[in-house]
């Protein structure tokens, strides 16, 4: 199985492919509309010198843009999730459930929380599929 450097475009492409290939995702996410940006705060001591901005876009079970982006584009997303690198890594490696991270204030969400709660299965599935991407994290490189 190929490995990908985390928070790179290749890694995002691999994640996008996992989602696109998932029939279960397509069914669960059939009502989801809109983009989600992920903001990973800079962590120089973890080999992440600059804040990473990721823009991901979903529409009725399909996956659209999945790109590294600048701050302005990240802030244009319908939902914006932000947090420290170590927390994102915990979520992406299944050490910490994303919903729990949000409730405990370890990740922050901007956007319609009601919509997120209604579609929590979709979000969990997207993260589950991320955990299937073999990732070399910046602090492991």
């Amino acid at each position: 199985m190929s490995s990908y450097k985390g928070l790179t475009q290749e890694w995002l492409d691999a994640w996008k492919q996992k989602i696109a290939e998932s029939k279960e995702y397509k069914e669960i996410a059939k009502d989801w509309e809109g983009s989600v940006s992920i903001i990973v705060n800079a962590a120089p001591d973890k080999n992440l010198p600059e804040t990473a901005y990721l823009f991901t876009d979903y529409w009725h079970g399909d996956v659209r843009d999945f790109v590294l982006c600048d701050e302005a584009r990240a802030l244009s997303a319908r939902f914006i999730m932000s947090g420290e690198y170590v927390r994102w890594k915990q979520v992406a490696t299944k050490e910490l459930d994303a919903t729990k991270a949000l409730m405990q204030g370890k990740l922050k969400l901007k956007g319609d929380l009601t919509y997120v709660v209604r579609n929590v299965k979709t979000i969990n599935k997207v993260i589950d599929l991320l955990t299937e991407v073999n990732t070399i994290w910046p602090d492991e490189a």
Partner: protein, 618 residues
């Protein structure tokens, strides 16, 4: 003394005597307030073996020191008595505005004994209390009675019972201003047994604080923490029913009397987001709460129309929704309104109806026993009819009015796994097969199966993480029993403080423990450290356990019902059941219980519960 009014009201409804008493600071430092203080009085002053509905059994309303201070979330007050539903220690806490008003009226609590020969109300204003006739109120539902009392003066804060309490339904509730309910353990029946229709209160006193400047600073910090809390935001937007979607995914939601593991159509139709998009008219807050998690709803058309009023909590959306296979949120709202008006606990009422629906399906009860009602799953016309019959103790309703455990015995279903309770109290709507720690919390809660007298749900489901208080994980796996005894032990010792300090448990999930401690210290001047507070929590649990031991509770009662030990075949909890023996053995060791389930002498001595040593060991 700062944080306290310094006076408790004592009323004997047999003689009409009204008096006041005070408690020494040492006792307040030991038990703080709320049901903890009530339990200490109960053990010391009253006959534990009296029938819960006998005149000599006390009915107690208790505040804690934060009530009336203005600290965010500090509206809670506790009601306590021997439970007519379970026969053991009973208590239920409530938000709203009664507690703060009682403090303003000059009292930290009320203890009522005796029985009036005719219906009465207790009226408390500015340090004075009088007993007045309530003949015109008797027979009225809670909404009607509250409106009548407020018609005289809108400033009254009201605690009232409905027909269920009057008729001694063993899971009857008490309503505060038509919006907040003391639901669990049937304490409305204790008021009913005393012919006490309502307590009304008003006052103008402000409570003192030890350090006003510090209090202001801590309150400001608390408000900021709440503002930044995603949990608080979710409660404001969707109420407690925000848990429905997440719970269905995590295996927390019980379905069809705990026999089905997953039904996403049910959760979609009954969830907090759905309520917000359909029947919500506004959000409502308890006194001093910036969150406003309470739902105000109205069903304007269709067969289940309601007036605008308090909406169902998550628990009620389960008991009148998922548990009985009802997909219609409007019907849940109607059943909730009926329970509010009649004055019945929505958990016990719904769970008892779920049980009887299962018995009906299995042919254990006949159509004749069912009074001709079609007790089919999801038949909400029948549910509405049955709620009235229960409240009025008519026909089958008279049997069900004693709660599911006693009703099952009368219906020939004793011992069947359709009866889902611990110590006679029906399980709240969180499935221990998805969260084994919750199972242990149910087993060990002192009022029977309870989801609120501890913080196990918040800790095990990952809503909170408090590494500064005790060693704990940020992310527990629900479907394991390993390590859960320590989680539950800690969650009890901290969660209990919500009751004794009088702060909402939801707010405890939004606030840092340091902030709560500092708020408490700024008000009282007690200067407690975390360990002092946790010790008070441990003392509370052990005191109530000792009372229950004296009432006959032992290790044999610390068990989960059969149904919860039967695995589900689908959903997130499929194949999982709590390891009851492991959980209990580990918990007993940590809690200092002997093999009989009785606190050891050493533990009682460590906690300063010498009176219990005398009563349990002589």
């Amino acid at each position: 003394m700062n944080g306290y009014a310094g006076k408790f009201l004592e009323v004997d409804l047999t003689t009409g005597a009204v008096a006041g008493f005070s408690l020494e600071e040492a006792r307040l430092k030991k038990f703080i307030g709320g049901s903890s203080l009530a339990a200490s009085l109960y053990l010391e002053r009253y006959n534990l073996h009296a029938d819960p509905l006998a005149p000599e059994s006390p009915f107690m309303v208790m505040n804690g020191p934060l009530v009336g201070s203005g600290f965010p979330g500090s509206s809670r007050f506790a009601v306590a008595a021997k439970s007519p539903q379970t026969g053991i220690w009973g208590e239920s806490a409530c938000g709203g505005n009664f507690g703060p008003e009682l403090k303003k009226a000059g009292f930290d609590g009320i203890v009522i004994t005796g029985r009036s020969s005719t219906p009465v109300i207790l009226s408390i204003a500015d340090g004075e209390a009088i007993i007045a006739a309530a003949d015109k109120l008797w027979g009225k539902d809670i909404y009607e009675a509250t409106d009548m009392l407020k018609a005289e003066d809108k400033g009254w804060k009201v605690l009232a019972i409905g027909p269920a309490g009057e008729n001694l339904v063993r899971f009857s509730a008490i309503g505060n201003d038509k919006a907040h309910f003391i639901g669990r353990t049937g304490l409305g029946a204790v008021m009913g047994s005393k012919k006490l229709k309502a307590i009304i209160v008003r006052g103008n006193k402000s409570s003192g604080k030890c350090d006003e400047e510090k209090f202001k600073a801590v309150s400001k910090e608390a408000l900021q923490e709440i503002k930044e809390s995603t949990f608080a935001e979710s409660l404001h937007l969707m109420g407690s029913d925000v848990g429905m979607d997440l719970g269905m995914m995590n295996g927390d939601v019980p379905i069809k009397n705990w026999t089905v593991g997953e039904d996403f159509e049910l959760s979609a139709k009954l969830s907090g987001p759905t309520m917000r998009e359909t029947y919500l008219t506004k959000a409502h807050a308890c006194a001093n709460c910036p969150v406003a998690c309470k739902r105000v709803v109205a069903v304007k058309d269709g067969p289940y129309q309601t007036e605008e009023g308090p909406g169902p909590e998550y628990e009620t959306c389960c008991t009148f929704g998922t548990l009985i296979m009802n997909y219609d949120l409007a019907a849940v709202i109607k059943a909730n309104e009926l329970c509010n008006r009649y004055g019945m606990d929505t958990i016990s009422a719904g769970a008892t109806i779920a049980m009887v629906m299962e018995l009906y399906e299995k042919g254990i009860i006949s159509a004749q026993t069912a009074d001709g009602l079609v007790l089919a799953w999801g038949n909400m016309d029948t549910v509405c009819a049955l709620l009235k019959k229960i409240a009025c103790r008519e026909g089958l309703g008279n049997i069900l009015a004693d709660g599911s455990l006693q009703a099952a015995a009368k219906l020939g279903a004793q011992g069947l796994d359709a009866v889902v309770h611990v110590k006679g109290l029906e399980l709240p709507m969180h499935d221990p097969r998805g969260f084994h720690g919750m199972g242990l919390a149910y087993m060990m809660s002192n009022r029977g199966a309870c989801h609120l007298q501890h913080a196990a749900m918040g800790m095990e489901q990952g809503m909170v993480s408090w590494p500064q208080l005790f060693e704990m994980k940020e992310d527990y796996q629900g479907t394991t029993s390993q390590g859960k005894a320590m989680l539950v032990f800690n969650s009890e010792n901290y969660g209990i403080l919500g009751n004794s300090l009088s702060i909402c448990q939801y707010l405890m999930y939004c606030l840092k423990p340091e902030t709560i401690r500092d708020g408490f210290n700024a008000v009282t001047g007690f200067n407690f450290e975390f360990q002092d507070l946790l010790l008070c929590g441990a003392r509370d649990w052990t005191l109530k356990r000792g009372i229950n031991n004296l009432l006959g509770i032992s290790a044999k009662d610390d068990v989960l019902p059969k149904r919860i030990l039967t695995p589900l075949s689908e959903g997130a909890a499929a194949g999982s059941v709590p390891d009851m023996q492991l959980l209990r053995d580990e918990y007993y060791a940590i809690r200092g219980l002997d093999a009989r389930g009785v606190p050891t002498r050493e533990k009682l001595s460590e906690l300063g519960l010498t009176e219990l040593i005398n009563k349990l060991y002589t």
